[in-house]
């Protein structure tokens, strides 16, 4: 599964929903994937699907939002916002979730895993 560049394919681009999230299961871990369309540009993000405040696997079902220049997702449970690129919670100083490198290779959505 891991090659020299250790990027693994998770799904196809068509599985993603514009300005919204889907969830992938990789090695028993739930990763929320987002496709954000911003000013004609498309950007992908991958974060942990676990909402540490609501304590459930739900972040991919949250609403995307921008806070100034920061792109974030608001948890569907209690609405705390998490920055998609850093994983920090904008509403609670001491909470951060994991973010993962993500890219598009010939329509395939890929995540990077460690050796």
């Amino acid at each position: 599964m891991t090659n020299s560049t250790n990027w693994i394919t998770v799904c196809q681009e068509s599985d993603l929903v514009a300005n919204s999230g889907v969830c992938a299961l990789i090695n028993e871990q739930q990763i929320a994937l987002f496709k954000v369309k911003n000013a004609g540009q498309e950007q992908l993000f991958a974060i942990s699907n676990w909402d540490p405040i609501g304590e459930a696997n739900v972040l991919y079902r949250g609403l995307l939002c921008s806070v100034g220049d920061t792109v974030a997702v608001a948890s569907p449970l209690y609405k705390q916002r998490f920055c998609l690129s850093s994983g920090t919670c904008l509403d609670s100083d001491d909470v951060t979730i994991k973010v993962y490198p993500i890219r598009l290779e010939n329509q395939a959505v890929q995540l990077q895993v460690s050796q």
Binding site: V10, C11, D15, L16, V17, A18, N19, S20, V22, C23, A24, L25, I26, N27, E28, Q29, Q30, I31, L33, V36, N38, W50, G54, E55, A56, N57, V58, R61, G62, L63, L64, C65, S66, V67, G68, V71, A74, P76, L77, K79, R81, K98, Y100, P101, L111, Q112, V113, S114
Partner: protein, 865 residues
Amino acid sequence: MSTSAQATNSQLRIVVVGNGMVGHHFVDQLIEHNTSVGADNSALHISVLSAEPRLAYDRVHLSEFFSGKSADELALTTPEYYQQHKIDYKLNAAVTHIDKVAKTVTTVQGEVLSYNKLILATGSYPFVPPIPGNDQPHCLVYRTIEDLEAISASSKVSKIGVVVGGGLLGLEAANALKEAGLETHVVEFAPQLMAVQVDGGGGRLLRSKIEALGVKVHTQKATQTIEAGDVCRYKMCFADGSFLETDMILFSAGIRPQDKLAREFDIAIGERGGIVVDNHCQTNIDDIYAIGECALWNNFIFGLVAPGYTMARVAAAHILGGDQTFLGADMSTKLKLMGVEVGSIGDAHAKTAGALCYTYENQASAVYKKMVVDSSKKKLIGAVLVGDTSDYDTLLQYALNGIDLPEHPEALILPASGGAKPGLGADALPATATICSCHNVSKGDIIAAFDGGACSLSDIKSCTKASSGCGGCSALLKSVCDAELSKRGVEVKKDICEHFAYSRQELFHLVKVGKLQTFDELLTKHGKGLGCEVCKPAAANILASVWNEFILKPDHVSLQDTNDTYLGNMQKDGTYSIIPRIAGGEITPDKLIVLGQVGKKYNLYTKITGGQRIDLFGARVDQLPEIWKILIDAGFETGHAYAKSLRTVKSCVGSTWCRYGVQDSVGQAIELENRYKGLRSPHKLKFAVSGCTRECAEAQSKDIGIIATENGWNLYVCGNGGMKPRHADLFATDLDTETLVKYIDRVLMFYVRTADRLQRTSVWMENLEGGLEYLKQVVIEDSLGLGAELESQMQVVVDAYQCEWKTAIENEESRKRFRQFVNSDKADTNIVFVEERQQIRPATPEEKASFTQQQQAKRIAVELV
């Protein structure tokens, strides 16, 4: 002890008799004046003659002497301070003579002082009822530090103490005895405690609270004699033949003005005592003033320190040539007695002619509140609060400033569960209204601060300190600032969020007038950024109200809150609930069976909701489409329990079965539910229809309530239960069904167009200028000429109805949304149930922890970067 500073001939000689709280405040005013003109060449020479062995101290906090405060700590001034300011003072120097012609006074030591201006500030003395035996050693009073020393000494050799008098001071004294470890009794002549400040109801509650603290209360007892006791030192014999044994008696039966000097030397006094003064605190004799508790103004003695201080300022100003006047004072009080909160405002006993009362009594929480209003029900003239004085400040504003009461004044004292109480409109407050009592900031001070350059709420906070104390005034402060800012043309933002500089109502117009169909169009034309969790659902809701398109259309899908996206309410563990529509609460046995079968097949928790339907809980997101497929095939539709839209139209059984019913309430409920289902609105909507006036469907607690009459239907609008319940208002009577539907169409569409986001009909209506009357004009009289348009817009929405679940499962693309994982068919392992009362429930975190430990062992750990 005394100081002497010789008066020069050119100086004005001022002699102050009495150095209590008010006498001292007067001296302080003159010191301030002296300092401001330069003390050395002062034109004033001030002498102070005190009957007590020490200079002024804080009588208000006298009781703290018992909790360890020393006389020094209670002192309001020091000998050094008086000396420094060349105040000539003499202690233990009661004045015994006044010569009004020679303008001199003589002290008990025989010293003679001449005056140009004489100030009587002799205060008052405790009234001891003329009961035989009241002059024995352990019969005491409560006024001076010496009194308290005597009480302390006596309580060391006493087991039982009785306080005669159940007023404010009596209860304070009782607390002191209790603290000293005595078995404490209060004997009161009146039928209740604190008869001056609180009414019968408040008195009853106060009594029970004080008794709960272990103090025994005896009301309607007139003491006739104090004799030697059998087991205690004394025996108090009452008029009704009963008696009480005690070791100590503390009289606190009221105060009397200390007007002895005035009586003896022919200065006018009132019929029942007190030195008569005018608005400048002058007596009937030239150059003699009286201030504080010895003064009788307008036939009234003020037994509180604040009015005394005002008198001191007025008299000082008058002597120095100023022109302030004393025009009475508010006697409202708020205090905590033995931990019991008590508040009294104005005419607590509703003695004013035509006065009306609103009373709230909650025996369970021991709270009693009463408001007294004038006969027009427009002004608050009095109030009594026992057990909870949190409404005191607001009520006092109404009373002191003569502010018009809101339409339902009772809301001011009723508990507001959750939401805020009806606030005081900022414009209704006069400039003198105190906004922040901690820092004594009035509305006028705030306006002055704006005039002085402040530009925002935070400027006001930093320059006036308002709201930096207890914080209780912050809402009031904000509304005063907002109102003031908007008067100055500063725009107070109603923007829905950082992405749109518009209110919901404005966005609605932009969508409608611009014929905008998608969020992208709206954002490109009128907004910025990506949008957020606030503006997206609001826009989706507006788009749906205007166009009523399928909400999972790709254009809309990213806008919806999870509940709308997945057409169900998300539960705490990420699963969803399923509530099919059961219009009017009517359901066939066959459909009931289907619900049972589905619940069983998918192992769902099943419950009857508060809205007359059935909720199935615990469905995983991936199970939703197949469950709904079964339900739809059996004839069910979505119940919109997840949406800001019509929820249920509750019904009672009505004339079909019920012997009292006068119309078919079930039929009407079903028809209305089917008409308005799917209507997206600023907040959820609930209806109910009752078949007769017995109102079994609780229609008056709904946004739209309908009650059958012999002749048709009575329509009620804008009620709700929930966090801040409100009864609906009667809107129109005896309507036929056609008119009923027409009015409902108009009310709802007008609401959909003009309400704020997440504003229920009640709050919307209360915020409409003109309120219910205005709404009636718009809807019934068609005053805006909007009626036909509102109806036709409603018809568009009604015609565009579709069952969202039906569309969702028929559409491959939207079905894809219900996958948990894009790359796996597995289920979310964090969703774990345990069994309780033969059904599932979400496992607690502890239960889950033990479950996952077992799972963990099987897991292959490949770390992601």
